[in-house]
Amino acid sequence: MAENPVLVLENIQHAYHRTLAVQGVSLSVRPGEVLAVTGPSGCGKSTLLHVAAGLIRPQSGTAYLFGQSLAATSDDDRARLRRSRLSLVLQFGQLVPELNGLDNVALPLLLEGHDPKEARKLASGWLERCGATELAEAEPAEMSGGQAQRVAVARALITGPQLILADEPTGSLDSSGGRQLLDLMLTEAHKAGAALVVVTHDNTVAARADREIHLLDGVIVSEAVLA
């Protein structure tokens, strides 16, 4: 029997100031699957990702994370879900500027009440796996775009998420840096058995996915199975 999807979006519709960003999009993501969501700027792909993460409540339609309807969960429960089973990687890393690299990675565990010493030890291990050991003491302002993204990926992986949602994760990097970061995300997501949904305008990123959906004007216009 097929495993239950980790993410299901049903007929999602959302508008900003009467401009429809997403118009009736439905999709589902299997455990361990890598899905690329592509399309030109303004096609609604980031909105869709934010709906999936529970950061935007869609005007109609339902998002299910791990079988749970996001509309039926409280803000606290959604926040807890995001910290435990779901991770986000955004374009510029979005690290906490006041914390060094190590504490940024440890943060999700610290927020969950883990022992700080243990959390930092795990964070150190993840920084090493992500090739960012030297950034443990560095503050985000001292990091390059690629370095901040490596730390953000380590932070996304430390909780052992079942689903990683990434919005243009390589967008701030050059082609070689972007490839390295994507390799890292794909390798670690695969090892952890996590599904990865990556919003990207970069075809070389999309081509690495198992499946690609292409959006235009908030509508899925094509779907391609790549693996």
């Binding site: 292409h214 235009l216 391609a224 199975v225 790549l226």
Partner: protein, 194 residues
């Protein structure tokens, strides 16, 4: 066979003589090089020899005799297959630009699911790009990297063009005067998605 396929597609709406075909070609594919008359007649002759087209009638009114051609059932099937089948991006030099452009514009003119043509082509290109990924841990050398980069960048350029074309087709709406002739031209669903 690029010109031959385009001429077969031009005959899908109905029989035409050589001059009509040249005029329709240059109108449908107006950004491409116009078709030379000599090329039209040599292609028609080849298509007739291969039993893809046949003479529908000859006209003699108002001047010289004109031969009007129509598709044979085989020719119709070939034209529909050509529209449904994505261009192979893995040949020497990648996907031929004229072929990509003609196929997409022909699908648009014939109202034969042009967005589907773009979508299937996008899938084929993405799979070709994916196939370029080296095996994990495989040794890299300058030669293979440079070659792969060249292939990848060309596929990427095509993919960007396909994205833009998909947008243009969507914004343009149905082609003026297009008749939906191609109900049986769409490939099976799994081909579109996989």
């Amino acid at each position: 066979m690029a010109t031959g396929d385009a001429i077969l597609a031009l005959l899908l709406p109905g029989p035409k003589h050589g001059y009509d075909l040249k005029r329709a070609h240059d109108e449908w594919f107006s950004g491409l090089r116009p078709l030379a008359f000599g090329q039209v007649y040599s292609t028609l002759s080849r298509l007739q020899r291969d039993e893809l087209i046949q003479v529908a009638q000859t006209e003699t009114a108002d001047g010289p005799e004109r031969t009007i051609y129509e598709l044979t059932p085989t020719g119709r099937a070939q034209a529909q297959g050509w529209l449904a089948e994505p261009v192979d991006p893995n040949g020497p030099g990648g996907a031929p630009a004229d072929e990509l452009i003609r196929k997409t514009l022909a699908a648009y003119r014939l109202n034969s699911d042009p967005s589907g043509v773009v979508a299937r082509q996008r899938a084929v290109h993405l799979r070709a790009m994916r196939a370029l990924e080296p095996e994990r841990g495989a040794p890299e050398n300058l030669g293979s990297s440079v070659t792969r980069d060249h292939r990848r960048q060309h596929l990427d350029a095509d993919l960007r063009w396909l994205e833009l074309t998909g947008e243009r087709i969507r914004n343009a709406g149905p082609a003026e005067g297009a008749v939906h002739l191609m109900n049986d031209a769409s490939p099976p669903k799994e081909q579109e998605h996989g």
